[in-house]
């Protein structure tokens, strides 16, 4: 895609229509990829014509968790690791809302890992955007469940020796109806992937590989933010991970795009069908009390 067509398709989208001006300037570090992911999300929301009043964004704790505050929507910045659980309650109670979760690799895969696998299994209509920067940025750059092998962090001074998660493989194995991955370098592709996730009738898991330049990049001598983003481009797989060791958890190759899509029944609709059956059974029992209640 040329630069011209990218600009053309973006023309009618003004990100400022979806941001809270009173929250600017934002607090992300220079070179952080999270802003790119946020822009792609809002672009997807715009192209789908989702009403801001009906948009609910739930986020956890960490750099990614802070993004909800910038979005001009119904936004909920909740406890560490729990945004999927909060969002489950919100989406079940209010099926008229469009519920999006923004989370990070630590929030989603470490402290919130149980909620992720069960959200995938339950398949409630939700879109989970996990921004994977391989590090706990907010707390000063500690190792995370997705930190590549041998990467230096503030708690792995000689290099990470723990194997890292392949989040998309995990989500797929847990039964997520929609699984996809994209890098921040390919903004239109990222936007299209998020759009497909938002349109999916069940649970959609979208992993965004994004760069933490200030803390992770600097500790690992990965160059400037531009160099880190360009490294994503040099291959179909993000080259930031190319020199890592193959593990059962994550292979060297991190494919991008839509990785899994199934049409399993959506939980909310399935629940409401079951609830209607209970209600009609209760009505029958009430009409015929001698046979009904025990």
């Amino acid at each position: 895609m040329s630069a011209t067509t990218m600009l053309d398709s973006a023309a009618e989208f003004d990100v400022r229509d979806y941001l809270r001006a009173e929250m600017m300037p934002h607090f992300l570090c220079p070179g952080c990829g999270h802003g790119i992911a946020l822009r792609a999300l809002l672009w997807a929301v715009h192209e789908l014509g989702i009403d801001k009043d009906k948009l609910a964004v739930v986020s956890g704790i960490g750099c990614a968790g802070r993004l909800s505050a910038y979005i001009d929507a119904n936004t909920f910045h909740v406890t560490h690791g729990r945004p999927l659980a909060y969002a489950t309650g919100l989406a079940l109670a209010r099926p008229d809302l469009h519920v999006i979760v923004i989370t990070g690799d630590g929030d989603c895969l470490a402290i919130g890992g149980n909620h992720l696998i069960h959200a995938c299994r339950r398949n409630l209509k939700l879109t989970c955007l996990m921004l994977n920067n391989e590090v706990y940025g907010m707390t000063g750059g500690q190792v995370s469940p997705t930190t590549s092998e041998m990467r230096v962090t503030s708690t792995t001074p000689l290099g990470n020796t723990e194997p890292h998660f392949n989040a998309c493989a995990l989500a797929t194995a847990a039964g997520a109806g929609f699984v996809g991955r994209e890098v921040t370098h390919h903004v239109p592709k990222l936007k299209e992937l998020i759009k497909a996730g938002l349109e999916h009738p069940g649970f959609a898991f979208v992993e965004v590989l994004t760069d933490c330049t200030e803390i992770f990049g600097r500790k690992n001598e990965m160059g400037s933010s531009a160099e880190m983003v360009l490294r994503q481009k040099s291959d179909l797989r993000p080259s930031a991970y190319r020199d890592t060791v193959d593990t059962p958890f994550r292979s060297n190759d991190l494919p991008t795009g839509i990785l899994a899509r199934t049409d399993r029944p959506e939980y909310g609709a399935a629940y409401r069908r079951g609830a209607a059956a209970i209600k009609s059974a209760a009505a029958k029992a009430a009409a015929n009390p001698r046979k009904g209640k025990s």
Partner: protein, 401 residues
């Protein structure tokens, strides 16, 4: 309706119920339309009843993956504008504490039922205890306001569950309903007819934002100290966070703004104590010994008082129904003329610690039990009798020390 049905109609409200079943019915009567829970003894019957009861009234029941997810989903549903509840026991109550603090800080109404069992840790899952009194008040980190209600009968579980919702909604706060395993699984005949009389605060409904978006500040309170909440979809598009926040809902660490907003939060119950406070004082007017206790221990104390009075011993009962904030003035008044105060409780001294604090230096006697066996009426009566006799030996009656 035929003649027979007409005659029987008033009795139709009589039900044979267990405490946990009454809790489920009370929740539905109060307008609860969302429940998220996780199986745990001895509270699971509440979830089981609501899994069938909520769909019948177009509500939602969901069994979540763990205790933390349960309270998170409950707060999420309440943020969506739906009256919501979870139920658990000690281990689950411990796990819920961080998010309970979130609900207190962000002022999200919700009801948390904690059926107390033996502790610490896994403890005695099928045996009663009253060991979560202090956790109900101080369980989450930092300073925050909380309401905890302590019913002592099946009927009271029903009415206090309704009152819990009314207080939670009108005061924008989490409310804990705290009762022990015995009354949870006790089965009694109860009448559920006069629900209207148990509304804690007028209406029992949340105050919703109205007026133009530009003029709305999500945490700017009215004279009553309670900010109006905005319903998602109503056009206000506000931010809710567990970070300390300003009136506009956005995070702040500005000392003056934190002082003002957190200060308002921490004192917001002060002007609503008439609606919050609730207690039962039985025979305290002439009592030489006042027994202070809750739950199943209060049921035993009521019998003990009858036994004492038959023997000519003037013994009374003060039972906090609202446990937190503690009904301090009422306790001071009820014990003003008493020569001794006795606290029987199924823990090692949580309620007696609070009673000592409220009564400022007065000696407080206690019976502490933590082996899973309820304290018997005879034990309480015996101790009360010895307190009456020893206080008589110490000097003439009627002079409080």
């Amino acid at each position: 309706m035929n003649a027979v049905d007409t005659v029987l109609a008033p009795k139709a409200a009589m039900r044979l119920l267990s405490g946990n079943h009454a809790c489920a019915l009370g929740a539905i009567a109060a307008g609860c339309r969302f429940f998220a829970g996780y199986p745990i003894t001895p509270s699971s019957e509440i979830a089981e009843r609501l899994s069938r009861g909520l769909p019948e009234v177009d509500g939602v029941f969901v069994q979540m993956e763990d205790e933390i997810a349960s309270i998170a989903a409950v707060i999420g549903a309440s943020m969506g504008g739906v009256k919501s509840m979870t139920a658990t026991s000690g281990p689950g109550f411990s796990l819920k504490q961080e998010n309970l603090g979130y609900a207190a800080g962000a002022e999200i109404p919700c009801v948390i039922v904690n059926v107390m069992r033996g502790g610490p840790s896994t403890g005695m899952p099928t045996r009663p205890a009253q060991g979560d009194i202090m956790q109900a008040r101080w369980g989450s980190h930092g300073d925050y306001p909380i309401i905890a209600l302590a019913p002592a009968s099946v009927r009271e579980i029903y009415t206090e569950t309704i009152r819990a919702f009314n207080l939670a909604e009108t005061l924008r706060t989490p409310v804990v309903v705290l009762y022990d395993q015995v009354i949870a699984q006790l089965t009694e005949t109860v009448e559920l007819g006069d629900v209207q009389n148990v509304s804690g605060v007028a209406g029992g409904e949340r105050k919703w934002a109205s007026g133009p978006r530009e003029a709305y500040q999500p945490y700017a309170a009215d004279q009553d100290g309670i900010p109006a909440m905005s319903r998602p979809g109503a056009g206000y598009r506000v931010h809710t966070t567990g970070l300390n926040h300003a009136e506009n809902g956005f995070p702040t660490q500005h000392p003056e703004v934190v002082d003002r907003n957190l200060g308002r939060l921490l004192t917001k119950f002060d002007r609503h104590r008439d609606a919050i406070d609730s207690w039962q004082a039985l025979g305290c007017e002439d009592a030489e010994v006042v027994i202070v206790t809750i739950g199943i221990s209060a049921r035993a104390a009521m019998r003990a008082i009858e036994m004492c009075r038959l023997r000519g011993l003037r013994v009374g009962l003060f039972r906090p129904i609202t446990l937190w904030p503690f009904p301090e003035q009422a306790l001071r008044k009820a014990t003003a003329k008493a020569r001794a105060v006795l606290v029987p409780e199924m823990n090692t001294g949580q309620l007696s610690l609070e009673v000592e604090r409220v009564l400022g230096g007065r000696k407080v006697d206690a019976i502490h039990r933590f082996n899973g066996e309820p304290i018997t009426p005879a034990e309480i009566a015996e101790r009360a009798e010895s307190l009456v006799k020893s206080s008589n030996a110490a000097g003439p009656a009627g002079e409080a020390k």
